[in-house]
Symmetry: D3
Subunit: 167 residues, 6 copies
Amino acid sequence: MSDHGLTHLDPLGRARMVDVTPKEPSHRRALARARVFMQPETTSLVARGALSKGDVLSVARVAGIQAAKRASDLIPLCHPLLIGSVLVNFRIEDSYVEVEAQVETVDRTGVEMEAMTACSVAALTIYDMCKSVDRSMVIGDITLWEKTGGRSGTYRRAVEGDGTDPT
Amino acid sequence: MSDHGLTHLDPLGRARMVDVTPKEPSHRRALARARVFMQPETTSLVARGALSKGDVLSVARVAGIQAAKRASDLIPLCHPLLIGSVLVNFRIEDSYVEVEAQVETVDRTGVEMEAMTACSVAALTIYDMCKSVDRSMVIGDITLWEKTGGRSGTYRRAVEGDGTDPT
Amino acid sequence: MSDHGLTHLDPLGRARMVDVTPKEPSHRRALARARVFMQPETTSLVARGALSKGDVLSVARVAGIQAAKRASDLIPLCHPLLIGSVLVNFRIEDSYVEVEAQVETVDRTGVEMEAMTACSVAALTIYDMCKSVDRSMVIGDITLWEKTGGRSGTYRRAVEGDGTDPT
Amino acid sequence: MSDHGLTHLDPLGRARMVDVTPKEPSHRRALARARVFMQPETTSLVARGALSKGDVLSVARVAGIQAAKRASDLIPLCHPLLIGSVLVNFRIEDSYVEVEAQVETVDRTGVEMEAMTACSVAALTIYDMCKSVDRSMVIGDITLWEKTGGRSGTYRRAVEGDGTDPT
Amino acid sequence: MSDHGLTHLDPLGRARMVDVTPKEPSHRRALARARVFMQPETTSLVARGALSKGDVLSVARVAGIQAAKRASDLIPLCHPLLIGSVLVNFRIEDSYVEVEAQVETVDRTGVEMEAMTACSVAALTIYDMCKSVDRSMVIGDITLWEKTGGRSGTYRRAVEGDGTDPT
Amino acid sequence: MSDHGLTHLDPLGRARMVDVTPKEPSHRRALARARVFMQPETTSLVARGALSKGDVLSVARVAGIQAAKRASDLIPLCHPLLIGSVLVNFRIEDSYVEVEAQVETVDRTGVEMEAMTACSVAALTIYDMCKSVDRSMVIGDITLWEKTGGRSGTYRRAVEGDGTDPT
């Protein structure tokens, strides 16, 4: 893969699914996060659910796990792969709910898009379940935090405060 | 729908798909936006593609349109409906690409989730196609800007500067 | 529809999707149930989960709701329709977990298959989540209990004996 | 995997997809069965079809095979895998039609859920195609009969009469 | 719809799903056909199957019916709609198998793409099932033969020459 | 696999998914083509789009790539596999648009059906986007041109003029 251009376009600018067949399968992991910003009253409704029956976050967790398995069906040039594990967890703060998704596989290509898709769909599910009480919610900060395995090696997102994190 | 609680949970806190059968079908529209924040070098690569063959944005547009049709398959408590039209467009700024999705239908339930899902998946597709050159991209500002039709009437997101927009 | 033969086969015995276009849309409802028979130790593990975080049943509920929306994609001659509501609930007894699904719509065709599919997939999900502790589980008693709306009117399953076991 | 608890829940009771990446791929096979109980007149209608054009069972066979490939899409914590073969067959008795599904793969995880799902969806398809003549049908006895391969080795369901089979 | 341009592109040449919400639902029907050209030995193998158990054509029929329901999921700018009926039939000639699909609905948009997709996927299924004996098969003559309903009224394909070959 | 019969039917003529588990994964490639025959005015509309924004062909390319990933979901007895790369390209002639799809994988089974499905769905997408100006289009000449890898070795379709190509 070139460092100098968009590998999903061929030299004539046409979309293509990059060939991964020359690569060997290896263990790969990716960690992504997203936040659903909302009114403090809304986070507290979610939190109360989390303490009793937990259904907003339970439903969002299932939606995120299922979406990880469908990333290549949703994103046109994303390679299909067999997910080995998915974890989707949540952290509730005053003004947002944070979603974290970790995906692992043994395959020829990485699982960033699976982790990003899991976060996005879990966040959309939270939005859907809370929109009757708070229509001003915003989903943001969807980004890759860590990636290991594969030829490009380990990537870790620079932490807040060093100027590269827009959150 | 009650203003006082999460309508997707029943009184015992269990997830449910709200009954829309008593409603009459009516014309509904929703407009949502998302942004993919990236290095200026990356936006200019996208823009160059946009000027010649346009494939990053063409692929993302198709992905967004297809995702709008699958919103209820991705989001557990979202009602299935028949989309009457979808438009997905883009605006390229120095530090981000903005996605805008507008969805219309004649149905018993609104199309916010369809528009939000179209934006999210179009943004994920841009991320996927650009990640080989810029791993620090962040998807954010996914939110509903306008909604018309249905019992709750018209909703317009307050514009930036009046204190309700967290971006 | 004829009472005298299999309407999903034409006079030459070939599979067909029966034409529902001459019918008018009307309100329809169906109620189905299934049971997952298991060791008492297993039901008590499920019950403990149900009391604290509830995840076996929460996951099964989401799986059942999602499956209801996909009935026509799974069952070849089943008509697609737009589900207006789905409820999936559970009852834990000593030797089984009972799943109940109720589906409503306003459409040209009934929702029996949607309710039956929701029960089946919720039961399969319970089986999947409990199989590491109890491989001898059996899913059974999947049947339609009630159906209203449509030309054939209301159907209620006859209660046999004490009314709890339809087999 | 622990024998002592539900491996699909983490220690805090949250749903997770168990990590199979440390396992090596190996040959695995599973055999499951289901029964659709119906009036003798209904089994004889199915049987007559089976003798001429066979469409009820042909359609159910295709539905079962397709469903085996979608097990992980239907069952939230089920791992995706690549099915190497599926056979779906039927046996017609006086009061029921029995479905048998056998699935094989070379993968890191077993194919029980694929075989169980194939049986369930084939049975639902038979139900759908016969429901115009017999609304009282019941689907039952969906269970795993045999499983080979993987760390836990061979499992064979105890035959009727020794007290472990509820049929 | 304009006669003067591609309605699926907006004035700037960008893909869009045409808005059908202003239309009223009405009864619509479409009839399409396709042919799988093959060696006479291959058609006779298919025909023999058709006479005994009929599985090549039974499987292809189910595949075509299922594909009709997924047309809008496969074809990006195709509107989702609820199919009211699908018939898929076959005619075996010396050098080809002909597939015919008829689709009906009551909706705001036509069912040409559903009928064309049913034919295409049924033909691909025949190809898949026969390719081990005849790799030189060619699928062709996929075209719309008739269309009724909707604002544009009835369309019937002009018969060229002797009326059997539309190419 | 036998050369003497349809391997997708068992000795009793029942549909089955052939067992590929005894095979070793190896690199495989397939190349297929299809043509959409249309009026010269229509090809020139497509070509003009191709020169400016390219959206008919861009949309068809994405549809073809996505369809390659879903071949086993559409074609009942087709094995699921993980696609390693897909290229979909086009050639515009006076009276037709030619689609070419090349698919590669490292797996136990070939990718002919993936390449054929990509061509078919890309062709259907072109048909859908052009049908408002030209209803007489015909999709044809869908065939396999090359196949490498696997036990049966390399296959190349005989070129036009030697009597084996029916186009």
